[in-house]
Symmetry: none
Subunit: 235 residues, 2 copies
Amino acid sequence: MSRHTIPRHQAIERHLRSRVAGLQPGDPLESDAELCALFRVSRMTVRQAAQRLADEGLIYRVPGVGTFVAEPKVHRDVGRLRSFTEEMALRGAAASSRLLVSEIRSGTHEEIAALQLPPRAKVTHVRRLRLADGKPMAIEDVVLPVSCAAVLNEDLEQGSLHEALQRLGEIPTRATGTQVAALAGPDDAKLLSIKVNAALLIERRLITNQNGLPLEKTETRYVGDEFVFHIVLSL
Amino acid sequence: MSRHTIPRHQAIERHLRSRVAGLQPGDPLESDAELCALFRVSRMTVRQAAQRLADEGLIYRVPGVGTFVAEPKVHRDVGRLRSFTEEMALRGAAASSRLLVSEIRSGTHEEIAALQLPPRAKVTHVRRLRLADGKPMAIEDVVLPVSCAAVLNEDLEQGSLHEALQRLGEIPTRATGTQVAALAGPDDAKLLSIKVNAALLIERRLITNQNGLPLEKTETRYVGDEFVFHIVLSL
DNA sequence: CAGTCCAGCCTGTCTAGACTGGTACGGCGA
DNA sequence: TCGCCGTACCAGTCTAGACAGGCTGGACTG
């Protein structure tokens, strides 16, 4: 009640979150009445916690039946520039990576044009398998100017690339890009542990830094039926 | 409690949504106590409505001060709401449609909940194959309240549904939704002239009108390798 | 005039009930 | 065996209060 203790509905919310994390989709959770008894709390308080998780899509509630763990869908707010790491933290999942490629090589014409580099310039290339709570979610190819090569010294398996860039004074600020659906090839399938010809959602972004200069060219291949983009549109 | 009426907290939510739509960011809204008097309900009921809008980011509540209209979440240029017709015009293609279904039928629970209609309400359902320069691009399912049934009298093969809605005084203003990649089923493949198991990009949107009230629930299944979403992201 | 204090209003949190409509299931009768 | 029905349980909705803690503004004091 006082500010020294967390609200009870928050305690119940935590309890439910950890229950959800340890159960399978479709598994039943405690009923409202059971939670009331468990936390010695009135039903409105239990509902406040349960309703919030239901709104978030973590659980679903069926009148006359009970409360259940929902199918896990990873959501992503489109319209706000976030790194994979930030995105996962927002959803309560731990982001990690398996480093597949980290190299300095000559840029392709396309990369040089996109990043506005001089002809025949070298680029920094990082390819990572992105994991959420250890589960493969996407393959990410990042191309940076060679001036950002210092990020190769960072821990790119546990750490965030965007945070590493910020330590170099480069702040990813704005992005434009495209989204398109495609089929998984043999390489995609193997890395992402999915079937060949499964649906992928491919996002290509060109990110600019705080000065509006091209900073990063990224292609991310998301598992189509695991990753849901959340969109907000207005006139 | 009279049965077969919309919940009171939903009525209050509607009231607040239309208030928000007509005010500027930072403008104060009614206090909880005022809303209690206005709707002759208890405070828990008012809070249920207000808290939902606060969670959505439409309003913010400051203890000791009051409830206010929030800054719009999405920048004007980010995630513009456009109809298929507008989208195609932007790409220099002519949009047309083949009308597959146009009917008035009972809404599903999901549709009724999304559009905030009374239980067992009827809905207007339009399914069209969307073409760009005569080439199949997407299958679109639109569900509207039965009060918008007059759009069925319009030319839905050559004309724009959103323009028809505007002639009825309903202006599609804001949308939230999700995008996900999936594979084409036999029906999709036949209509879109693609192979079974080709990649699709599925967008689900819930569109609200100028008063912030739910207007349209849409699912659009785009041909994955023909349709590219352009995105703009910012910090 | 400046500073303090308090009363009144605001949202946050919570209680202990109530009624509704929906679902699941066991038992009873045909 | 099959169908019907009653009962128990479930979440949805709602009431009429309560206290805590933050904020504002006016009154009162020095």
